[in-house]
Amino acid sequence: MAIAREHELHKRRSGRNIGLAMVLVAFIALVFGLTIAKVQSGASLQAYDHSYRPAIDPDNVRYPQR
């Protein structure tokens, strides 16, 4: 015998919870996709780490950028 009776209320709440879960998963997927898109379309992924690096300076003629 089931220890808990299933009420219509539970079904409705479970529908709401599943809907919300799907929205959240879709949102996470979208933000992840956006991150990938931004990283792919961005310029140099390297930056200065405390000291000047001539190799990633776009104005440095000795190191032509891609």
């Binding site: 808990a4 809907g19 792919q40």
Partner: protein, 324 residues
């Protein structure tokens, strides 16, 4: 041991399902927002990464939904009085008014910030202004204050293609303004044609509608005046970078038909309209939906055709407003 929660006597129609939260976002309005924003995004020069474009459309639609939720929160008293809106989630008691407000505010924040991050700050700012305009200027202030409420409310619906354009280009241009004006000037004749044959109960809710405050004859005149004022904007778009021969051909025919319809509405008396069951008003209302859809469809067609070098060369001679 039993689950005591099962014994709580909850009224079935007082507990919101997921669909009620969707209804709070006015999905039918959202579909128009998605379509026009998508056209603005596609016809804009340059391009976005497909995922950025998808995110932009989703967050523009979400912003539209957020303003719908804020509208339902504020207008719950009006909605409860009118038959058409009495079954909405807030007046029906399935969602509490403060919850609708909280959802509206939260979604507003999320949509604006996410559109900004996905595209640019101006697009985010425009979306924020649109939500503010619809929720505060229109819903809270002018809807109950003036019979020109439809004209002002139309501006909120006119922003999405401009936001789509700005999401790609980062700036507002003549093309974006003309797409805005096309929807802005189209809304009043579209809605007033509906108001003439839909015997609504706005007066019961004390919302001033032109048909009630100024009479039906004045409403007919307003339809004609706004239709005449709409035509230059619709045609001018044909001479910009988003227009071309195909768009212009559509625009000339559609505007001639819309003008003919508005003229027919203006000439009719109320007795004539009642005698044939508002046949002309209903026809013009249905046509106005096709009018907007086909104009934006023609923008898409121009964007597709511009990939053909021979057509692009021919169309370029028409684009005399492109420099502005």
């Amino acid at each position: 041991m039993t689950d005591i929660r099962a014994d709580i006597s909850y009224s079935d129609d007082k507990d919101a399902g997921f669909g009620d939260y969707i209804a709070l976002l006015k999905p039918r309005v959202m579909s128009l927002v998605v379509f026009t924003a998508l056209v603005g995004l596609i016809v804009a020069p340059g391009g976005l990464h497909p995922i950025e474009a998808l995110a932009a459309i989703i967050f523009i639609a979400l912003g539209g939904g957020a303003s719908g939720a804020l509208n339902m929160w504020w207008d719950a008293d009006i909605d409860a009085v009118m038959k058409r809106t009495a079954k909405r989630p807030v007046p029906a008691g399935r969602i509490a008014a403060p919850e609708a407000m909280a959802l509206g505010l939260a979604l507003s924040g999320i949509s604006v910030i996410m559109l900004w991050l996905a595209t640019n700050a101006l697009a985010g700012a425009l979306l924020a202004f649109t939500i503010f305009f619809y929720a505060v200027i229109y819903t809270m202030w002018l809807k109950r204050a003036t019979p020109q409420n439809i004209v002002i409310g139309g501006a909120a619906g006119a922003f999405p293609p401009m936001i789509g354009w700005v999401a790609v280009t980062g700036s507002i241009s003549l093309e974006a303004c003309l797409m805005f004006m096309l929807i802005f000037m189209w809304t009043p004749p579209h809605f007033w044609a509906l108001a003439l044959f839909m015997k609504s109960d706005y007066h019961k809710a004390k919302v001033p509608m032109l048909t009630v405050t100024h009479g039906r004859k004045a409403t007919r005149t307003h339809i004609l005046v706004y239709t005449v004022a709409l035509i230059p904007f619709a045609l001018a778009a044909g001479f910009t970078s988003i227009g071309g021969p195909v768009y212009l051909a559509f625009a000339v025919v559609l505007n001639a038909m819309f003008l003919q319809g508005a003229w027919a509405i203006w000439r009719r008396t109320e007795d004539q309209a009642e005698a044939d069951g508002y046949a002309v008003e209903k026809r013009v209302f249905r046509f106005s939906l096709a009018y907007l859809f086909l104009h934006f469809g023609a923008f898409l067609a121009e964007a597709a055709l511009s990939n053909l070098p021979a057509y692009a060369e021919f169309a370029a001679s028409l684009k005399i407003l492109e420099l502005f």
